[in-house]
Amino acid sequence: MTVIRGMPGARAVEVALLALLVAAAGLGFVGLNRPLPAEDAVVTLTVPGAVTVVDARGPLAYRQGHLPGARHLYARDLLSFEGASVGGLASSDALAEQVRALGVAPGEEVVVYDGGDGWDAPLVTLVLHAFGVEARMLAGGLEAWRARGGEPSDTLPAKPEPSEVGLTFDDRLLVEAAEAGQHLADGAIAPLDVRPRADYQREHVEGAVHVSADALLPGGTLPRWSMLTARLEPARITRDTHPFVYGGDVREAARAYLTLKAYGLEHLHVYRGAYPALRTAGLPLSQAETVRATSERSSSRCWR
């Protein structure tokens, strides 16, 4: 029984179409699984000595072993523990003092790392970016560096000279609640909630779409392009979007920030506080019963 019937000339057309189809599928597979461009925010390997390395872990962990020559800036020292600011960043002046004491300046190549879970290094990287220092995060942290044969050192480097260069704080990158409220009212920014989904469903800023920070920086490393597209496309986040990223606290938002930056988003705004302060600042919020409408708006354009 003949399975494929056709005119003799059709065979060549069918072979050509099959070849083109396989090529399209192959290119698609390769394109989907390429790693994200890492040069903007995250590196996969560092070369100590060529760059200034910053350890973002706690002081005890740092003293026990760190990348050779690494300076130390504990991420927790950048946070506020006062009243309504708990979970958010310290004041801009306090942040500037920390960064100045680190001895880094704009234009200097800096790499930040933590233990590998991606909780401390993103925050330090974000703050350095806010002061114009183009820092990058070591994907996978100290664990990944060790896995590549790196030997930690417990020799403490000499205390660096405080940076004399003026550090200008970028208040478009790190925004306060009141400012965010104004921009949201103007429609200039699109709220992006990166907390766990259950928290988002319970309550979120009105109009916010959701992508969890854990999905954006799984295990402290960048996801593959395919997985990131799958997360961002249904939330309608593209390179032209001006997202306002907020999390349960600023550390959560910082994790999302790094991946979004690596994805190519240039107009990022990160909330410098913790979620409860957004509520007290009077931003319009959506409750659980309106999640349905939000998910309706955020459903993929494949079913518009």
Partner: protein, 344 residues
């Protein structure tokens, strides 16, 4: 990667035309002539895609988005689409490939399809879409799938389904269906492979879904009605589909311009309108739901497909089976020549 939409469309259109693949015919033939050949081709295409997409997604190599479950919209839209495709004489893909062959009725159905989409999306019926498109369940925020509903790994659903399909094929025996084109097995495999390729190529172009026609056709018809045209992967897919079916008809000597009677033309146009409104309401057609959506075991696609089947069978019964039975009763009633001839 946008151009891959054109390539996939070419292959899709070619395979549709050579395989004579039309879900309307597949669903209708089961009822009218008790033949499940094309239904098997459809099932094989779904099975190939199901296997490929589950493997790729499970390996983390393919992002998968699942059509939402809008119960009211899926049911009503599916039934309307089923009615429409029987009236039009072809589903969305069948209509498109027949346009490539030169069938004027299908061209009118395609135009009706596009108009129906725009009317439901932005016209007089838009409030109905707004009212009915309510997600039934979020399943922790994700669109519901059968594995999600059962709380199991997708393979625990996929593998038994593939076994059931294989047993069905084995028990069906030899097919008597003859179309002059590809055998049902070649058509099913080809369409399944095109479907998997579509997932990969489309997702790499920023559209994490496979073959679909409703959204892409909407893009074209919105542009025709005065909007701006977005040349994206989907809109290039439609161009490729029409070109591919035309190419297939041309190289295989099956290209013929045919114009049916006036009443048939009107019926085709009306069928297209029903298809368009139904597909837009349900969020997909027999390609978007019954081929691609089923490959990710979407509950919304299962509901839509069942509703399409219901609408198609009800319409086919009303249009063909009921008149046929009435005619048979008339010709075999006592006193009629046929009855006398049979000695009744």
């Amino acid at each position: 990667m946008l151009l891959s939409g054109l390539v996939v469309g070419l292959a899709f259109g070619y395979a549709l035309q050579r395989g004579r693949f039309c879900t309307n015919t597949a669903f209708r033939d089961v009822l009218l002539i008790r033949d499940d050949t094309l239904l098997r081709a459809w099932a094989l295409a779904v099975a190939v895609q199901l296997l490929g997409v589950t493997a790729l997604a499970g390996g983390g190599w393919l992002p998968v988005t699942v059509p939402p479950l809008w119960l009211g919209a899926n049911l009503l839209g599916g039934v309307a689409f089923g009615i429409g495709m029987v009236l039009a004489g072809g589903c969305s893909s069948g209509t498109c490939y027949r346009v490539g062959e030169g069938l004027a009725g299908s061209l009118l159905a395609l135009i009706g399809f596009g108009v129906g989409i725009v009317v439901m999306a932005e016209g007089a019926l838009a409030p109905l879409q707004e009212a009915l498109r309510r997600p039934l369940s979020t399943f922790d925020g994700e669109a519901p799938t059968l594995p999600g509903l059962l709380g199991v790994d997708p393979w625990l659903v996929v593998l038994p389904l593939l076994v059931i399909i294989a047993v069905w094929f084995w028990r069906s025996g030899r097919s008597s269906y003859r179309s002059g084109g590809w055998d049902w097995r070649a058509a099913g495999v080809a369409l399944g492979v095109v479907g998997v390729a579509a997932w990969l190529a489309s997702s790499a172009a920023g559209r994490p879904y496979g073959l679909s026609m409703t959204g892409p056709l909407r893009t074209w018809f919105e542009a025709l009605f005065g909007g701006s045209l977005t040349l994206d992967w989907g809109s290039l897919l439609i161009v490729g589909l029409l070109a591919g079916s035309f190419l297939s008809a041309l190289v295989n000597g099956e290209l013929r311009w045919r114009v049916p009677k006036g009443s048939r033309l009107l019926q085709s146009g009306a069928g297209g309108l029903f298809m368009g409104t139904g597909a837009q309401l349900a969020g997909g057609c027999t390609i978007g739901h019954s081929l691609t959506g089923l490959s990710v075991l979407s509950l919304g696609s299962m509901v839509s497909t069942a509703a399409i089947l219901l609408g198609a069978w009800a319409t086919a019964y009303w249009l063909f089976v009921r008149p046929m039975r009435r005619m048979l009763r008339t010709t075999t009633a006592p006193g009629t020549p046929a009855a006398v001839g049979r000695g009744t």
